[in-house]
């Protein structure tokens, strides 16, 4: 017997944290609203039953507007689970209970979970469970996904609710609304939940209008005072919620916490933004400095190993050049990538990220974007695929597509090895500075692209932004470590798969047809054949070939360079060409994974093609400018 259990609730209340606790998973958790954007499933067994959990994106109301919210609504409507858990934040239960009342209209088996009870206790907020149960007529469980409190009880409650279904209808909205609801039920097919949809129709929900029977014209049936009715319904729910909480919750006067004092500085009118940039500088500096000694050590280790094996036969050459030198040159930069994820993890877990969205919102006006998309793009410093996915949380379709299209210009962590390699060769004395400049350039190029895309591809108005700012949480070391490992291990996997395969292919192209002279290799032929395109930028054939191979994944540029020159240490690049090369690499083409994400998220081939064409042209132009200006100066 399989019991399906859906987890819904407001954004950022801890649905995924609970899911992880319940099924022992390690799904992405962070302290900002809109982390989960797709349904995630996982199973566990309890008392000989299989519990199949489905974690869903958060929402405030079932009248969904953004893509991620629609995922949740469609799930509840079209594949209702056996048991539905509505997760409510104990620190701000009102909005969660509103959603609970809305969900109860769906005629499902519902359990209400008051999560983050540990934080509530610290703030002397107390709930009287039995009176909550008697007013809401659903089972109540108080949980903490951090301490594990209430998890076993929740499992028990799921089994009990499944065995003895409870489907309470709670609210009567008064004669005016109830009569409308009854009247509207005839407009929907029998296969739907009629009461729910007609109530949504009275609320003016667009989706309910779409589901009307074919021959029903929305304009002819809908009442003229619809927005009044919608407000009456919402007020009725909130009045009920406030009444219940008056009786079932006690809290003491809240004192100003140290976190509020910190927030005063972080979101300060004048110094907030300078502090943000200072923190960014610190983060990238940390990425660079914290990992430097380890990177050097690993590099030397791999170098020793290659020397030891030698490359006299075809076999030893494959091992030492193709695999150890090719893959090792990328692996040695992995500490930097982990360091960056450590810094990003602190930013995401503490609750600072949405504050940046708040600070930067005004600056995004001119790009016809919101602070929310700024925040989404910041995630791209980790991996561009994350920001393409997270764009689902953006309500406005134009903003979502623009954000997706500019995402590749945010310098993802896969580009770190490439920059570090080139910087190490061409700017040995200004490494940290050059590294930071690349990040500034990346931000500038992203902004410029948003401007251009808004002008050419999509024309639009400025859009609304309603965003919740979650309370600060002290990021625990274990949380940040889990985050770092989750994101960073992706690179280890990549090194063992795509980078390994690509390195071997590059080795083949170098080794044949003439192992004695690389100038006669296939790789050289490819590079020389296309070199004329890059001649204005001053690129050698090695660079051209590396760029072509690197279009699959940026790290392969490093691996190819290492093989062409027989080790990173032997590469020569003058500062001007190196600068042009880095600028070109910053934008030239989104990696395959990102292109695939762009295609699936926009559901069209048009956008990935636009992305490739646009990014190739803009980075060529910029790199060309850099090489001209560079040659004038030097």
């Amino acid at each position: 017997m399989v019991i399906t259990v859906g987890l819904i609730g407001n954004p950022n209340v801890g649905k995924t944290s609970l899911f992880n606790k319940l099924v022992g998973a390690r799904q992405y958790v962070a302290n900002w609203p809109g982390v989960t954007v797709t349904r995630v499933e996982g199973a566990t067994s309890y008392k000989e039953q299989t519990l199949h959990f489905i974690d869903l994106p958060g929402l405030y109301t079932l009248s969904a507007t953004s893509l991620d919210e629609k995922v949740t609504r469609d799930f509840l409507l079209y594949s209702p689970p056996n048991v539905t858990i509505v997760v409510i934040d104990s620190m701000s239960p009102e909005q969660g209970m509103y959603l609970l009342l809305e969900t109860l209209e769906l005629n499902l088996n519902v359990i209400a979970v008051f999560n983050a009870i540990d934080e509530a206790k610290k703030n002397s907020i107390k709930f009287d469970k039995s009176s909550l149960e008697s007013y809401l007529r659903v089972p109540i469980v108080l949980t903490s996904a951090h301490t594990g409190e209430g998890i076993t009880e929740l499992m028990e409650t799921i089994l009990a609710t499944f065995r003895k279904p409870n489907r309470p209808k709670l609210l009567d909205y008064g004669p005016e609304i109830e009569s409308k609801v009854a009247e509207f039920e005839q407009y929907f097919e029998d296969k739907y939940n009629k009461r729910f949809l007609s109530l949504k129709l009275v609320e003016g929900d667009k989706f309910a209008m779409e589901l009307l029977k074919k021959d029903v014209e929305p304009t002819s049936v809908l009442p003229s005072n619809m927005s009044d009715l919608a407000i009456k319904i919402a007020k009725r729910r909130y009045e009920y919620v406030m009444n219940v909480l008056n009786r079932a919750m006690s809290k003491s006067e809240s004192a100003i916490t140290s976190m509020e004092a910190i927030d005063h500085v972080f979101t300060h009118k004048y110094i907030g933004i300078p502090i943000f940039f200072a923190l960014m500088y610190l983060a990238f500096n940390f990425t660079f400095k914290a990992s430097e000694p380890l990177v050097g050590l690993i590099e030397v280790g791999f170098q020793k190993l290659t020397d030891l094996i030698g490359s006299n036969s075809i076999f030893t050459s494959l091992i030492s050049q193709g695999i150890i030198n090719g893959v090792g040159s990328v692996i040695s930069f992995i500490p930097s990538i982990f360091a960056l994820f450590f810094a990003l993890g602190i930013m995401e877990e503490s609750g600072y990220l949405p504050r940046i969205a708040f600070l930067m919102d005004r600056a995004m006006y001119s790009l016809k974007l919101t602070g929310r998309s700024f925040m989404t793009l910041l995630l791209g410093f980790g991996c561009n695929v994350s920001s393409v996915m997270a764009a689902r949380g953006l309500t406005d379709e134009r903003e979502r597509v623009t954000t997706i299209l500019v995402s590749p210009f945010v310098s993802c962590s896969a580009r770190i090895p490439v920059y570090l390699m080139i910087i190490g060769i061409a700017f040995p004395n200004h490494r940290a500075e050059a590294f930071f400049v690349m990040y500034l350039l990346s931000i500038a190029l992203t902004a410029l692209s948003a401007r251009i895309i808004n002008k050419i591809v999509m024309k639009g108005e400025s859009i609304p932004l309603v965003m919740e700012l979650p309370r600060y949480r002290f990021p625990s070391l274990s949380n940040v470590a889990t985050y770092m490992w989750n994101r960073g291990k992706h690179f280890l996997q990549k090194a063992g798969t795509i980078i390994l395969v690509a390195s071997v292919i590059v080795w083949v192209l170098i080794y044949f047809p003439d192992p004695t002279n690389i100038e006669n290799s296939f790789a050289a032929m490819i590079g020389k054949g296309l070199q004329f395109i890059f001649a204005p930028l001053g690129f050698q054939w090695q660079t051209v070939s590396a760029l072509i191979f690197g279009s699959v994944a940026k790290e392969i540029i490093v691996s190819s360079f290492a093989q062409f020159y027989g080790g990173v240490g032997n590469i020569v690049l003058d500062p001007v060409t190196a600068s042009a090369l880095m600028v070109f690499i910053l934008g030239y083409i989104p990696c395959f994974a990102t292109l695939a994400a762009i295609k699936s998220e926009t559901n069209s081939l048009k956008y990935p093609i636009i992305s490739v064409v646009y990014s190739l042209s803009i980075s060529y132009i910029l790199a060309f400018l850099v090489s001209i200006i560079g040659r004038v100066i030097v």
């Binding site: 507007t65 509103y98 907030g272 609304p464």
Partner: protein
């Protein structure tokens, strides 16, 4: 008054909301007639601003806050620049240490009773002063009830 015009620090009550694309979400968060909203702070250049609805903090752009009609709650502290002449009790003063010391020397201090005169000068227990718009804006007061119906006496 529109929510976008409500002074920072004030607590307001929603009267009416103009329908737009985001009203369903606002309703879900609890922005509804009769519900109290606290104006917390503003981002650089005055827009967007943070508001507290129940215990959730949300950020709203002025273009959206404009659609929400509000009135100040009875017990909400307001800056002295926002109130009509009359007697008030000082609730809190939002400024740095030095400005606070200067104000307290004039008798403007948390808990003190002050009177705003028709010419926008302030009468305190220490005398009558012209404190200037910039500082008036930082002094949050609530209207006096019976307890201060007597004259403010000069010390």
């Amino acid at each position: 008054m529109k929510l976008s015009e409500a002074p920072i620090g004030a607590q307001v009550e929603v009267l009416h909301i103009e329908e737009s694309d985001i009203t369903p979400r606002l309703r879900g968060i609890g922005v509804l007639p009769g519900i109290k909203i606290e104006v917390l702070k503003s981002a650089p250049m005055g827009d967007p601003r943070m508001y507290r609805v129940f215990n959730k903090v949300i950020s709203l752009r002025s273009s959206e806050a404009e659609l929400i009609e509000v009135q100040t709650s009875e017990d909400s502290p307001l800056p002295l620049t926002f109130v009509s002449p009359g007697k008030y009790r000082v609730e809190h003063i939002e400024c740095g240490r030095i400005a606070w010391m200067n104000l307290s020397r004039l008798g403007i201090i948390e808990g003190a009773i002050v009177q705003l005169l028709d010419d926008r000068r302030v009468k305190t227990a220490n005398g009558v002063y012209d404190v200037g718009f910039g500082k008036l804006r930082k002094i949050y007061v609530i209207p006096c009830k019976q307890e201060c119906n007597h004259e403010i006496k000069n010390a």
